[in-house]
Structures are given as structure tokens and as C-alpha cells.
Symmetry: C2
Subunit: 572 residues, 2 copies
């Protein structure tokens, strides 16, 4: 039985209302108590008028949205299995202790603290999205506490789906059980302990040299930026720190990078790809391209050499699996409901609305923009542009809609750029290159026929997710204003204008740190740079992109600490 009173708890547990009542009574009236309950009623009334926005996920997309959202006109609820945001591009640095886990995370409540109100956050997984009833079902993450693991439902007016993606094993047997991944902070911490464990195991008495070699064979599957950066970090860690404290086994270490394609970093410029391969060759990192992983066990990884068809088993000490992204179950389920079954990610329109449910938005790795083909709308565009209904378009008529076309169909601009044309009128030139004065519908169609080939989906990167979250917040902030003053392009099908300009991704380049204080970078405008100065550029960009002054200070001090004292190899 609970006898709390005997422990003097009552005075602290007295509810606020009774304290206020006491205050009211003592001050000779009930004015205070009254005004308080009145204010509360007002607040509730106000709350009721606000549209309910539910945000699922606090990764790059979710956090960018929450940071930029003006919550004075929304009632915002966030559901996320983590109460923090992690600066994921630094995860590979966490695996070897170049940067500490704590330095790259920031409390969501800190980031989203607002002057104009409070955002509610619940540490839970969204297990079901029900767009028909505008509801989501959520399960708290505290599985071992019966009271705190009750499923709950939230209603929404707008839903922002930003749950990200999960690991993709491509159905390879044994991967989930025997590989490490690098998507969450916990993953990076596990890898760090795993790497140290490999060294400690290799030192144990009674092992053969072959067994020691196996323990110290680190295999990385996937030659994308994550895999390459982990290989580089691991190599640095071993060269700079581990050899000092495990001198007796340093000769036995081997790092193998397995890539199914012909080159590593194949989403980068070819020059960067070769630079990385040459650097890894010099470093003794064994890059094996053209290999498919068949299966993984606790001892071996079995690969097929594509060129010869030969199947080879490699004994391993630790495997990092970093190949592509897969779909979370809650997203697969939603896709089934809205008739998108079988896709990898939720299809949205250019305004990030999920196709089939207008008030559900999807951003980041769980979504993919299904761009509208210009050829689908070509007749409507022609009709809308042909204001005099002459059956032909003059250059002047085209000029009037050219901006709308460029905004609505961004593939046009890419196409022009690729064809080295200055503007859309150049498309209408005849075979000799002379600009035509007028075109009919057939000529217009054939001029734009090649444009849609330029459509490509955006990569699953932090940069894309952050820009999408931020874009969406801007739309929400101007929702009321833009209802009356739409700022988007002309609606060629139905007339009028779109409420907002569609989302457009700006690529600011990408980095690939290659170890030994060297990095490669692809910068806007086809610039490629590699070497030590690029590593310093990387330091400054990554420091500036931190989400708070706290993490910025910590990350910079971690880098400094590593220069002075090296990385720590304690297994905690």
C-alpha cells in the first residue's frame, strides 16, 4: 500500500489550482483564481482554432521544418523515437572516436524551443498512418514499462512524414544478424566498441596467427560516401593511434572495401573517384570492385566476382554494411493504402504533397518527388499560351509563359543547359538554327520532346532533406497569405495559379573525406578539388553547418583534442 503522506510528500504535490485558490483566499478575493481560469479557457479556445500539424521524425527533414516553422498559427506535435537530432554526416567520425557521439547530437526540445509557443514531442514510433481518418497511431519506445508503452493516437490537419529510410540488405542472407550499419548514433558507438574488441580479441593467448588475422580483417560493403569515409577513418585510427598501443598486431590488420560497381564513389565526378582509389591503394586499403555479396555468416562473407563468376569466402572480424536505403514498414503500409504499392519511397508532387492525400507531406529519405512530365501537359501549355486562339504560338506569346514553364518543369532548364542554349526560344529554332517566329502544336511538341529525359530523382542526402524541410516550413508560414495571393506558376491544366512555387533543390556540392587529412570535394559549377586544403574546407563547412553553438564548440574541440592527444581506445 502506498502511504505517501507519511513521507511528507503532500506539500510538494499540491496541485497548482489549490495553491492559487489559497492565494486568492488570502488576498481577500477570488479575482486571481478567476482570471487564471479565464486565461486558460482563452488559451484552449485559441488552441482549438489552430490547425494541428503532426510531424513524424526528427532527422534532417523534420528538424529543418520545425526550426523554420512559425508555430503561432499551428498546434505542433512531434513523434520521434529519438529525443535528439544527430548531425549524421559526422557519424563515420564517431566510429573511430575522431568526434564524440555526444558532440554531434542536440536535444530536439532545445532546437525547437520557440518564443511563440510550445512544440510537443513524444518519444515514440509511428506504427500506422491512417490518411482516411487523418490519424496516426504511435507506440512509445519504452517497451519494458507497461504504463509507458501504451499505444496512442493523434489526429492531424496536416501530417509531415519525415521518418527517413532504413538499411537495405537487398535480401542478402545473414546481413541483419552479422553486420554493422551506420544510420544512427548508437550504430556508430557499437562500431567503435566493435573495432576495439577486434584488437583485444586478436591479442588473446591461444589464437593462431590466421585467427588473429581474421579478427583484424575489417570489411566494408558499399563504396559510397559512408563506406569510403569509414574506411578512411579506420585506416587513420589504426595508423595514428592503434599501432602505438597494440604494436604486436599492427602488421596483421587489413581493410577490404567491397563495391559492386566498377568504381568507388560513383555518384561523384570521375576525377574524385580515381583520386580516392589511388589514395586507398597507397594506404593499403584493398578496394575490390565488381563484386556481389552472396551471404554473410558470423565468420565469413561470401562474394561473387562478377567478371569470372567465381565465388570467394573471406573470413572477417567486423563488417560494415553501407549500401543504399530501404523502406520503413510504416511507409510501405502507407503506400499500399494510397495506391503506391511496390515503390521504394513515397511519391510526392513538386510541393511535397503525397500523391493521393493532399494534407500529407513527405520529406527526406522516405519520399521521392514524382516530377510532372512536360509532355503530359503539352497541349494545355499550348492552349494556355495561345491567348489569341490562333492555333500557333508566337515568340511573344511563348515569352509570356516562359517563366511559368521554367518554374513548373525544372527539367527544361537542365535540358537547355545541357544543349548549351541560352533560353527557351532557342528550342524553337529550325534545323539550320534560325529562330522561328511561330510554331504550331506539332512543332512545339517536337521541340520539347527531349526535355523530360532530364528528369532525375534527388539523392537520399542530408542536403536534400534539409532543403525540403525548410521549404515546407516556408510554405506553412505563408499558407494563409498565399491562399489569397498565390505565388506559384500558372496552372496550365485547370487555370489560375499554384499556391506556392514548387520545391527546387540547390546542390551545394559534396565532400568525401579520404583520411590522412585529405578530402575530395565536388563543388557547384563543376569544380573539383582534392587534398589537404579541401580537408580544411571540409572542417569549416561542417563546423558552420552544426545545428547549435554547443555542438559546434564540441566538434571543434574534439578535432583539436584528436590532434593533441589522439583518439581514445577505451571500450566504453
Amino acid at each position: 500500500m502506498t502511504i505517501l503522506s507519511s513521507l511528507g510528500r503532500s506539500s510538494r504535490s499540491a496541485p497548482l489550482a489549490s495553491k492559487l485558490f489559497l492565494l486568492g483566499t488570502l488576498s481577500g478575493g477570488s479575482l486571481v483564481a478567476y482570471s487564471d481560469s479565464n486565461a486558460e479557457a482563452n488559451k484552449k479556445e485559441e488552441q482549438r482554432k489552430k490547425k494541428k500539424v503532426v510531424v513524424l521524425g526528427t532527422g534532417w527533414a523534420g528538424i529543418s521544418f520545425l526550426k523554420d516553422l512559425d508555430i503561432s498559427s499551428y498546434d505542433v506535435q512531434v513523434v520521434s523515437p529519438q529525443n535528439y537530432f544527430a548531425f549524421t554526416p559526422l557519424l563515420p567520425s564517431v566510429t573511430c572516436g575522431t568526434v564524440e557521439a555526444r558532440s554531434i547530437v542536440e536535444s530536439v526540445r532545445n532546437i525547437t524551443k520557440k518564443k511563440t509557443g510550445e512544440i510537443e514531442l513524444w518519444e515514440a514510433d509511428c506504427v500506422k498512418i491512417d490518411p482516411a481518418n487523418n490519424k496516426v497511431r504511435c507506440l512509445p519506445v519504452f517497451k519494458d514499462d507497461p504504463e509507458a508503452s501504451q499505444e496512442f493516437s493523434l489526429e492531424y490537419d496536416y501530417l509531415i512524414v519525415a521518418v527517413g529510410a532504413q538499411v537495405n540488405t537487398f535480401g542478402t542472407p545473414g546481413v541483419l544478424e552479422n553486420c554493422h550499419f551506420l544510420k544512427e548514433v548508437e550504430d556508430a558507438q557499437k562500431i567503435r566498441r566493435g573495432v576495439i574488441d577486434c584488437f583485444e580479441k586478436a591479442l588473446l593467448p591461444g589464437l593462431t596467427e590466421e585467427q588473429r588475422r581474421t579478427k583484424l580483417h575489417f570489411v566494408i560493403v558499399g563504396g559510397g560516401p559512408t563506406g569510403v569515409e569509414f574506411a578512411a577513418e579506420l585506416h587513420d585510427f589504426i595508423q595514428e593511434d592503434v599501432t602505438k598501443i597494440y604494436p604486436s598486431v599492427k602488421e596483421l590488420v587489413k581493410i577490404t572495401l567491397i563495391q559492386s560497381g566498377d568504381h568507388i564513389l560513383n555518384s561523384f565526378d570521375e576525377r574524385i573517384s580515381s583520386f580516392a582509389e589511388e589514395k586507398f591503394l597507397r594506404d593499403g586499403i584493398d578496394v575490390q570492385t565488381g563484386m556481389r555479396v552472396m551471404s554473410v555468416s558470423d565468420k565469413d562473407i561470401t562474394v561473387k566476382i562478377k567478371s569470372s563468376g567465381q565465388v570467394v569466402s573471406l573470413p572477417h572480424g567486423l563488417i560494415l554494411w553501407s549500401t543504399g536505403v530501404g523502406t520503413r514498414p510504416v511507409i510501405s503500409d502507407l503506400m499500399e493504402q494510397v495506391g503506391q504499392g511496390g515503390r521504394r519511397a513515397l511519391a510526392t508532387n513538386e510541393w511535397l504533397q503525397v500523391k493521393g492525400c493532399e494534407n500529407v507531406y513527405a520529406v527526406g529519405d522516405c519520399a521521392s518527388i514524382a516530377q510532372r512530365k512536360i509532355m503530359e501537359d503539352i497541349a494545355n501549355i499550348f492552349k494556355a499560351a495561345d491567348v489569341d486562339n490562333s492555333g500557333t504560338l508566337t515568340v511573344e506569346e511563348l515569352q509570356d509563359v516562359v517563366d511559368d514553364i521554367l518554374v513548373r518543369y525544372p527539367q527544361v532548364e537542365l535540358y537547355l543547359k545541357n544543349k548549351h542554349m541560352r533560353n527557351i526560344k532557342d528550342l524553337l529554332a529550325d534545323s539550320e538554327g534560325n529562330a522561328k517566329k511561330e510554331v504550331d502544336i506539332e512543332e512545339f511538341k517536337s521541340a520539347l520532346a527531349g526535355v523530360d529525359s532530364q528528369m532525375k530523382s534527388l539523392p537520399a542526402t542530408a542536403q536534400v532533406a534539409a532543403q525540403q524541410g525548410s521549404y515546407l516550413a516556408q510554405c506553412f508560414n505563408r499558407m494563409e497569405h498565399c491562399k489569397e495571393h498565390p505565388e506559384g506558376p500558372k496552372r496550365f491544366r485547370s487555370g489560375g495559379h499554384h499556391q506556392f512555387r514548387p520545391f527546387q533543390y540547390k546542390h551545394f556540392g559534396q565532400f568525401a573525406p579520404l583520411g590522412g587529412d585529405q578530402a575530395a570535394a565536388e563543388l557547384p559549377g563543376d569544380w573539383v578539388s582534392a587534398g589537404r586544403s579541401t580537408q580544411w574546407l571540409w572542417y569549416s563547412v561542417y563546423a558552420s553547418k552544426q545545428v547549435s553553438w554547443r555542438t559546434r564548440a564540441l566538434v571543434v574541440s574534439d578535432w583539436t583534442r584528436r590532434y593533441i592527444f589522439g583518439r581514445d581506445s577505451s571500450r566504453i
Copy 2:
């Protein structure tokens, strides 16, 4: 099948010997290869001559020993389940993120790096000490790796047992399953996550206010320095950081400290005890003294109020159990073997040798010095001092052995101090206070009769363990020299001198941080100090006591970070 050669591994895996052979052949002779193998043989020969020292544990005692040991004449092997040393007095700071876990640990290999040789360290638990055969059996900590979890044996010439103690539940049901402890770094990390979880749980929708209060009820069992410091840290964390990000539940938090005795911090001076109780009262920490815990479940902790016999159940969110120390199974087993069954800790003599096995030493929390009573040796002392065999002791004869007595029986000095006597001759005064010139054996016995009441065992603290480890290293470093030139006191029983002076503990005082940047301290010479300046003294002492410059820099930067940015509440 494993086909390594197809992956180009062979060139890196060529053993050193064959490379040397190649070098020898190329340089036109086999001189290089020969001299190398010769050197190796010499080294092995040298190694064989060295005495084998096995050290179990890398806590305060083990690390102090290893740091100070000159390994040029010993072959040292270390067995420890952790490859790091943790600065345990800062563990309570880790529980709330005032200091990061990584900042208080240092790699054992880094600490023990020596110019004169290499110390071997194995990450394993010692599961059996076999003093009859001078062997220990060890089990590596990597339970899920069949190759790396094979038991192995080590032989020793000298064994240093420094495995520490474990949690003591006093047989209370439910404690192991439902309580947190604070002995290891992992414990502190778990508590940190546990505290954040309590706040996240309390915010979940669908809980009653009573349930929210329960989630935020933090119970600490044990009013010793650890429990008190955790209560203070938790209170600060909640007041300074948590209230900012969980404002809606801050009124529901409650901290209860349960102590079985009448006062908290009862190993400290009374003034400190009262200062702490008053500070906690002001802070709203509920200190409940005179209570015995009967049982713990996942929901409740049941206590008996000693004065009234009333039994009360308290619902809790998180419990820290920090009461006393218990015996590790490997130590209990050893005690059985050497006829010390039923004790809490291994009994050693004043030279830290385990009673019953001369070449086994025990230091730190797993050991306790069984001090020799002067009354047991009184006849021998009398006989040894009575050089002229007159049957009486003159003051001059006593003067000759007084130093030996004071060193061999430190209780004498404590007794003299308590009785406000200046030296041992004062003991021999008659009832009027006049010094006698001569005493017989009966008078001598009655003069020293009260002395043994001053013997007390040393507390289980870092300070004691560190001094013991360091003392033992000094003995080992001078082992050969002191065999021929013993520097210890006279052997009153068997004649001659002891090889070394016995271990003597110097108490440098103790701190109790109480939160809100206030601390209490007991300093040598009966000084007591409390308040803000004591907290600054605490900062400087704890910074200076760090085991490496790396941890020193990190701990100080953590303190600074906390002042600027507060503590992080991300659940990682």
C-alpha cells in the same frame, strides 16, 4: 572455402622472418637474419629469468601498482575485464552529464606504456585463483565469439589481486533486477539514459498525474558519499537544465534519499553531515533516515520505518542502490581455499600479503589488512628490548625499540595521540603521572593494554587503493635490494628485520559535493570546510588527480562546457 590469395592479401601477410631472410640474401650474406634470431634468443632467455607478475584488475589499486612498477626485472601480465581505467570519483558527475564518460577514462595500455618493456594486457575475467599451483584461470569477455572466449591459464611467481568489490544488496529481494548501481562507467551511462527516460515517459499522453509523479520519483538508497553526490547532481541537473526543456512536468519531480542510519554522510565529521542535511532540506530533497529497505519491485520500493516498525511502499521511477560493497565470487572462492571462509574481504598482513599465501598480494576494495595486535607480541617485545636480560625494562632499553614498535604497531601512535601523550615513555608513568625508571613485564603489559582498541580497518576508497598499489610497486622495485638490506622494523618474534616497512595509510581528507556549486570537505588535521570555495578546491584537486593530461583537459573542458551550454539531455 577461403581463397585469400585471389584477393591479393599475400604480400601484406608475409611474415617478418621471411622478409628479413630476403633482405639477408639480397645483401649478400645471412648476417642480418642471424643477428636478429640471436637477439630474439637473448630476449627470450632474459624473459625466462624474470619473475612473472600477474595483476588482476585495473582499478585504482591495479593501475597505481602498474604505473609505479619498474618492469625491467619483471614479466608483467594484466588481466582485466576493462581495457581502461576509470576515474571513479567522478562517476556521479557522469550520471547527469556534468562530465562525459569518455573524459574520465584512460586506456590502460596508454597509462602503463613503459620505456623498459611491454606489459601484456588481456581483456578477461579471472574466474579462479589457484594459489596451490601458482596459477589463475581466465575467461575472455567476448562471450559471443567462440574463438575468442576460450578459457586460458596463467602461471605466476607473484600475484596481485586487485579485482575490487561488487554491489552489496544485503540479500534484499528485487534489488538486482530493479535498481541502478554506480560502480562502473556503464552504470553511469545507464543511469543517465534512465533519468532522461523518466522525463520522456512522464510526458507521454494518456498518463494520470499520479503516474507522471511516479515516473519522476527518483529514489536513492544509501546516504554515503556516492548516494549524496548523485542526489546533488540530479537536483542540479533538474533545476538548471531539465526545467528549461521539460517545463510542463517540473513541478512533479521528487528526489528521496533513504538512509538506514540516523544521518547521511555518517563517515564524515558531524558538522558536514548536518551541513549536507540542511542543504538538502533547502533544496527540497527528501532525506528519510532510520529506514530499512525490505524489498524492491519494478513499481515500488518497500521500506520499514525503524522507529515505528511501520512498513511503507513508495512508487518509484528510478532507484539508485548505493550501499556498501560486497565480495566478488572469485575472492570468496580464494578465501575458502586459504582458510578465510566467511569474511567480506581477503585478510592480508601489513605488507599486503594474503594470509596463508606469501606470493599473493591483495590491494584495494577486495582486501582488508588484519593488523597485528601488540598484546599478541607483548612478551616477545619485552624479551627483545630487555637486552641485559634483567627481567625489567629501563627507559633506555625501551628507547632502543620505540621506533620499531611505532612502525610495526601503528595503533600505538593513534593511542598516544588520543591520550594527548607526547611519546611512548609517557605510557609508563604511574598513576600520579611520574615517569617510572623501570617496568617489569606485568607493568609493561598493563601500560599497553588499551592500545589495540585503536585498530580500525581502512575504508573502501580510491585513496586507500591507490596508496596500496603504489606502496606495493615500491616494494617490488626494491625487492632484490631489500632482501640483503632489509628496511623494515625489528622482527620481535623471530629476530632480524622485516624486509620492508609495513603499509601505512595517509589520509588526505575527503570531499562531498552537495550541488549548487557547494561542497563539503574534511581535510587533514580536523579541518572542516563547506561552501562555494570548497567546491573550487574540489575542482582543483580532482583536476590535478587525473591520470593523464588528456583526461585532465577533457574534464576541465566538460566543466567549462556545462557552465556555458548546460548539460545535454539527448538519450544516447
